[in-house]
């Protein structure tokens, strides 16, 4: 239903920042986040003709692509490497100007803590705080809305404990 679909550029402009933030909370460097975000929108652009607005929201559709792209990234680069970086809390050498700029973002450390959570908890927090409803989070994580709420609340508690441990 072409009539149901806004121009792709509208989606792109509206969601680029949110998708980037979601990806950035998963990976260790802004460079990786840019690469994955680019891949997300390339894939989405190619697939947009098949997007059916009556079946899902644009946000859920884009975040599904983003989630898959992030998982692909981990598969390609090795989860072990990701774990090493996060455990060592060594968010990659970001000496490029873009990385330096992002270093200034005051909540970077918090996102670093999010990145260390188990995958589903990390996803629940990232998706929820990227603006998705619990229903959309549940759909993406293949669980009910209530289960998504529960998962999210557990994730926030786990994050709180991790932050406290870090600052202790």
């Amino acid at each position: 239903m072409v009539a149901d679909r806004p121009p792709f550029e509208d989606l792109y402009r509206a969601y680029l920042g949110r998708i980037y933030a979601y990806v950035r909370a998963q990976v260790a460097s802004s460079a990786d986040a840019e690469d994955i975000t680019a891949q997300v929108f390339m894939n989405a652009y190619q697939a947009y003709a098949r997007f059916e607005a009556r079946n899902t929201t644009p946000a859920a559709w884009l975040f599904r692509i983003a989630r898959n792209a992030t998982l692909d990234h981990f598969r390609a680069h090795g989860r072990r490497e990701r774990l090493r970086r996060t455990i060592e809390h060594q968010p990659v050498a970001e000496e490029d100007p873009s990385g330096v700029a992002e270093e200034r973002i005051q909540y970077r450390a918090l996102l670093g803590q999010v990145a260390q959570l188990p995958e589903r908890q990390r996803d629940a927090i990232s998706l929820r705080h990227s603006g998705l409803s619990f229903e959309e989070v549940g759909t993406l994580l293949k669980c009910s809305e209530d289960a998504a709420k529960m998962l999210y609340h557990r994730a926030v508690k786990a994050l709180k404990e991790a932050v406290e441990k870090e600052t202790a």
Partner: protein, 396 residues
């Protein structure tokens, strides 16, 4: 869960909201990625989108012509009663507007930056199959002129565009971009090249009749059918895009169809702030651009302006009244009542004409007046071209 813990969790959630809200890619990433995405789109997709944009653009085309000025050059063209040589009868035309990139302005220099400009020299083109508008024949005798139209020109300056004459190296680079290799440098051409299925020739500017640097494509092997729906204009666009020759400038398209043979012309336009788009016309006042010949849906040849970098500079132009006076003054002395037919000019528009000037040549604004008259039962078109650049800025 205790109340203090609830409050702590709420505080953490607010921090998370802020963290996600303030995490954004570096400045410039958004536009950079969008550009990359556009560049990676298949040519057919880009053309389809461009075509949709063009169709939409038809509804937004600015109201027609207006404009004005001094010295005068005249051409009388007969729009006789129409026998169309070459492609025969039954042409079909269409118009469409151009691509996004066509709206990119040329690099702008200071006003009058090119000094005094040479004036256009008219050299009526012999009508023939190349024409996509009315077939024409010259009317040899003198014609008196009257003006009944309305010329509104709300601009006092218009850009003059300039290009540098390309070298054989430029021609080689163009051919390389098509995947063609140099075969020879025949007289009159910058180079002759070949791909596996195309013969490509490139020539420089021609003084008379004036013509800008041009490419000529001729298939030397059977070119496969073009995978595109639509009419000849769509096929022509896809063919050009497949060879990276889709125009980067604004255009309207016109097609002449006769049986399974068609000629599509993408008529070049120049953007003028405060006016809209002005056609590029040849010395006879005919709009022109890239031409693609098709037979049975397969391209049999294409020719058009060599892609060149243009820079531009604004120049003062004459007023509408001055333009009308100049147009009427171009008629021979004596006027009507002496057996000389009288042509009534009814329309006028801002156009651009090529002015050849050595190492650098110009696209200069002019006012094209048009009207009709009848002699011995035959209806003719009269066109008068008035250079629009103020006489103080012209060298001739």
């Amino acid at each position: 869960m205790s109340e203090p813990e609830d409050l702590e969790l709420e505080g953490l959630q607010r921090q998370l909201d802020d963290a996600f809200e303030t995490t954004r890619p570096r400045a410039g990433f958004e536009d950079e990625l969008w550009t990359r995405m556009q560049a990676r789109r298949p040519a057919v997709t880009r053309l389809r989108d461009a075509w949709m944009g063009l169709l939409q653009g038809i509804r937004e085309v600015p109201a027609l012509p207006l404009a004005a000025v001094a010295a005068v050059l005249v051409v009388v063209l007969g729009a006789g009663v129409l026998v169309f040589s070459g492609l025969g009868h039954g042409g079909a035309g269409s118009t469409a507007a151009g691509r996004e990139s066509a709206l990119q302005p040329a690099p702008l220099s200071a006003a009058g930056a090119y000094g005094r400009l040479p004036s256009p020299v008219l050299a009526p083109r012999t009508a023939g199959p190349n024409s996509v508008t009315a077939p024409t024949a010259d009317y040899a005798g003198p014609v008196a002129l009257t003006w009944t139209g309305k010329l509104v020109l709300n601009i006092s300056t218009a850009p003059v565009f300039r290009y540098q004459e390309p070298s054989s190296i430029d021609a080689d680079q163009f051919a390389t971009s098509l995947g063609a290799i140099l075969v020879s440098r025949p007289a009159g051409f910058l180079g002759s090249y070949q791909t596996t299925d195309l013969s490509v020739r490139v020539r420089g500017t021609i003084q008379s009749p004036s013509s800008e640097p041009t490419f000529i494509l001729l298939p030397i092997a059977s070119v496969g059918a073009i995978d595109a729906a639509g009419g000849p204009a769509d096929l022509a666009l896809v063919f050009l895009a497949e060879h990276s020759l889709a125009p980067s400038w604004q255009y309207t398209s016109a097609a002449v169809v006769s049986g399974d043979v068609s000629k599509v012309t993408l008529l070049r336009q120049f953007g003028v702030t405060g006016y809209g788009y002005a056609n590029l016309v040849d010395g006879s006042g005919e709009p022109y651009g890239i031409e693609v010949d098709l037979k049975g849906g397969l391209p049999t040849g294409a020719t058009g302006p060599l892609p060149l970098n243009l820079d531009s500079a604004p120049y003062p132009i004459i007023s509408a009244d001055e333009a009308v006076r100049s147009a009427l003054a171009s008629a021979p002395a004596g006027g009507a009542g002496t057996g000389v037919p009288t042509a009534t000019l009814t329309t006028a528009e801002l156009v651009y004409t090529l002015v050849v000037a050595g190492d650098h040549s110009f696209y200069e604004p002019s006012i094209l007046f048009s009207g009709t008259f009848t002699v011995s039962g035959t209806k003719y078109v009269k066109r008068v071209l008035v250079p629009a650049v103020d006489p103080s800025q012209r060298s001739s």
